[in-house]
């Protein structure tokens, strides 16, 4: 009697463990679609989108340049020492440009934006939630998803591709600095390899990734902040800190998962 009770209990627990992530995924998806619909519903919130483009985009340029430069430089170094073993160091330009444009650019740019802007979004919206500011919006008949999430989503869809493009270009220049200036590959050769190897397909693929990452990052970060009050394991300031942490961790994991899925489709 007691034994069968424990077994059904365990089974029920297992079932709950399987159901709750699916439920959560559904809620996130609904949140995302609401955000998309409100993004295109009138009156458009152009001023708020521009504010957010400044916050997510413009203010991230510096950190994107910095990480882009060092990523390109280290790719130049590693690429050189690998290629030189096969006597084909002339291909360095192609190796750096393709890995940046197809993989490293979109992924690393997205991760840097999560660190800079995604965490801030989760914290800001989380604080608004716990201090009843989101309830206040509702009492004013202002839709909080439309007011808080949609402008950030729109701004991210605009900013991510640009930031990725900046990351790629700065990275290619970084590869040139190590490959040509430090290790002595002919600079004309480096850039002609870049030009001849990169196809429009590669660039489009990179942009497609950055669009998807934009949607994933903003949805996860805003959703975590928005649902701060539903957390069982922490309230108040603790809840906000947990939301911010899980927003960053989940976003980064989902970027890499989505990157794998997208790459397998794009190749």
């Amino acid at each position: 009697m007691t034994q069968s009770y424990t077994i059904t209990n365990m089974l029920a627990g297992l079932g709950r463990m399987a159901i709750s992530p699916v439920q959560e995924f559904g809620r996130v998806a609904i949140f995302f679609f609401r955000g998309v619909i409100y993004l295109f519903s009138f009156p458009l919130q152009a001023d708020k989108i521009i504010d957010q483009v400044y916050f997510i985009g413009t203010k991230s340029v510096f950190v994107i340049c910095l990480t882009g430069a060092f990523t390109g430089m280290v790719l130049g170094l590693q690429g050189y020492y690998t290629l030189v073993k096969f006597g084909s160091e002339g291909l360095l330009g192609a190796a750096v440009a393709l890995s940046l444009i197809r993989e490293m650019g979109p992924v690393l740019a997205a991760i840097m934006i999560v660190a800079r802007a995604g965490s801030a979004m989760a914290a800001e919206i989380g604080i608004m939630r716990i201090s009843e500011q989101i309830d206040a919006l509702e009492t004013m008949d202002i839709n909080p998803v439309r007011f808080l999430f949609s402008p950030r989503l729109g701004a991210a869809l605009i900013s991510f591709p640009f930031l990725t493009a900046i990351f790629d270009v700065v990275g290619i220049i970084g590869g040139y600095v190590t490959g040509s200036l430090l290790l002595g590959i002919n600079s004309g050769l480096y850039f002609s390899r870049v030009e001849s190897s990169v196809l429009m397909e590669d660039i489009n693929g990179g942009f497609a990734k950055s669009f998807c990452f934009a949607a994933i990052v903003v949805t996860i970060c805003c959703y975590q902040g928005y649902t701060t009050h539903l957390r069982k394991e922490g309230f108040g300031a603790k809840g906000v800190s947990l939301s911010t942490t899980s927003a960053v961790v989940l976003s980064c994991v989902m970027i890499l998962v989505a990157d794998y899925v997208l790459t397998s489709f794009l190749l």
Partner: protein, 256 residues
């Protein structure tokens, strides 16, 4: 008697093991200011949040002009909600916006009021509450009492039909408190609005409210006119409005 504007019918609400509302029956009439009094933590804010739909009852229904709100279609529900304005106990001001932006937001988001009109109305409201000159400050730069008054300005700026005030004057100095009370009374005279006010300001509420409801132990134990409550012989009510609890006072005294 006329149909109440808002009516609670056997409303129950619990949070986990904590049953807060245990069968609330309450009627609120058009054009009156109703005060809800009761001890701290008894569920007054919870009750007020049910009116505007921030919380949903576990059981029972809340009617607006005789129609159950939770049974209404979404469009009708929204139309009802638009008549309301809510002033939060904790002010709930947007802390990353200036005072001006805070008060202007409910007007601005509707997109129907022209810019100059918004400006005029916001400045008027702030001036009435003795808040002129702080438009560009942020909520964290203000004192608690000033924040309360900003929250009140924000609740009243849209000239709503029904305003729910959650402890609008707690923490104000006596002069500002009287101003706020006078403003509510004045509003009622000019606009004939309906107010529901959670308040601890006894006896002030007896002069500005036409109806008093007392919440205790999860139920409304009294509703009626200020004169009626003042003449009530019910011990719980008498003690509360006189600020006396013989047992607690005795216990505190004997501890010394």
């Amino acid at each position: 008697m006329t149909v109440p504007l808002i009516e609670f019918n056997q409303v129950f609400k619990r949070f986990g093991d904590n049953a807060v509302l245990k069968g609330v029956d309450l009627s609120i009439y058009q054009g009156q200011v109703t005060a809800i009094i009761g001890k701290s933590g008894i569920g007054k804010s919870v009750l007020l949040k049910h009116i505007i739909g921030l919380l949903e009852p576990d059981q029972g229904e809340i009617r607006f002009q005789g129609q159950a709100i939770n049974a209404m279609p979404a469009v009708a529900r929204r139309a009802v909600k638009m008549k309301f304005s809510y002033m939060f106990q904790g002010t709930a001001l947007f802390d990353s916006m200036t005072i001006y932006e805070n008060v202007a937001l409910p007007l601005k988001e509707k997109g129907q009021v022209p810019f100059r009109e918004i400006q005029r109305r916001v400045r008027d409201k702030l001036a009435q509450l003795d808040l002129a000159g702080i438009e560009d400050k942020y909520p964290s730069q203000l004192s608690g009492g000033m924040k309360k008054r900003v929250a009140m300005a924000r609740a009243l700026v849209t000239d709503p039909e029904i305003v729910l005030f959650d402890e609008p004057t707690t923490g104000l100095d006596p002069i500002r408190k009287n101003t706020a009370h006078a403003m509510i009374a004045q509003y009622q005279k000019t606009f004939g609005f309906t107010g529901v006010m959670v308040s601890h300001e006894i006896p002030d509420v007896f002069y500005i409210c036409q109806r008093i409801a007392m919440l205790d132990q999860g139920r409304i134990i009294f509703q009626g006119s200020p004169a009626e409550i003042q003449n009530s012989t019910e011990p719980a009510i008498r003690q509360f409005i006189r600020g006396q609890d013989p047992e607690a006072t005795q216990a505190a005294l004997s501890e010394r």
